[in-house]
């Protein structure tokens, strides 16, 4: 069968994302990539943890961070992780419209998160906490900014993916792509769990 052909309920495989060798390879390769990303973020976390008290004359994390804002951002990202897992459930049932709907919600929540983050950064800069103001500033913006860049990339990714496949149903060739995006999005949320814990909550207790 041609990998680009729309799947029907009759020939729908149990795991459309892993039904071809190409899909299997992508699935495994992406998981391994996430293993590498874990080390990438760990290096940034380590750098941040080493330098988080080095704010010099600038404001410290305790003075800067506003927990309600972080809580809201956390809820947005957590919910978007849930909606992307719903999209994967739709994928497994060949319900393409519902998949698109859930991924669109994910996309919007991701955009909301990005908006909050930009607002937060602008606010900090006004408070005198900038990328170059201290080692704490450099480490903070690198870690949180790298995460934000991952969210931004995810937003671009799902936009392209949805637009390209809007009228094509679910095929053996696009099922792995949807699945991989969902994995990526969960991973971005996993990183955020550590960011809100290690950066913001631990920042509040010094």
């Amino acid at each position: 069968m041609n990998a680009g052909e729309r799947l029907t309920d009759a020939n729908f495989p149990a795991h459309p994302e892993k039904a071809t060798l190409e899909g299997k390879n992508k699935f495994l390769g992406f998981w391994l990539f996430l293993g590498g990303e874990t080390v990438l973020f760990a290096t940034l976390f380590g750098t941040y943890l080493g330098l988080r008290n080095m704010h010099l004359d600038g404001p410290s994390g305790e003075e800067l961070f506003s927990l309600p804002l972080v809580f809201l951002a956390t809820m947005l990202l957590l919910t978007s992780s849930l909606t992307s897992v719903y999209a994967v459930l739709s994928l497994k049932q060949n319900k393409v419209r519902s998949l698109q709907g859930w991924f669109l919600v994910t996309l919007l929540l991701g955009l909301g998160f990005l908006g909050l983050e930009i607002y937060e950064f602008v606010h900090y800069v006004h408070e005198g906490h900038t990328f170059t103001s201290s080692a704490f500033g450099s480490a903070f913006y690198s870690l949180v900014g790298f995460h934000g860049a991952h969210v931004l990339f995810g937003v671009l990714w799902i936009t392209t993916l949805l637009a390209r496949n809007w009228n094509r149903g679910i095929t053996l060739s696009n099922a792995p792509k949807y699945y991989l995006f969902a994995l990526y999005w969960h991973f971005v949320d996993v990183v955020w769990v550590f960011i809100f814990t290690v950066v913001y909550l631990m920042g509040k207790v010094g």
């Binding site: 020939n11 996430l34 293993g35 080390v39 849930l82 969960h186 814990t197 509040k204």
Partner: protein, 114 residues
Amino acid sequence: MANHQQNPETTVHRHEEIQRKLALKEERKHHNVSFVMMILLTIVAFFAIWSDKISDSFAVLFILTLAVVQVFFQLYVWMHLSHKGHDFPIWGMASGILVAAITVASLMGLIWTS
């Protein structure tokens, strides 16, 4: 493709279909439960810091534990590591987490020596 014919195979097929639907329903339930759990864990973590009632050193340990638990929900339930055929992904993540842990530990602990 598949012309539907009345033969035993179709019955088997239908049976599998029902099985799969039930499994997916079960999965959705798991997803919802872990969502609620994760919301709760997050609220508890924020509250532990917010309320200022817990000593700082304990609070740090406590919220780090909550974060680890929450991440396990993500990895095992939402990212399906608990499902069959995830041996190599588990190996990959476990190795990554091991290297990540020693990296964080050394960058935290081994740079401000006298």
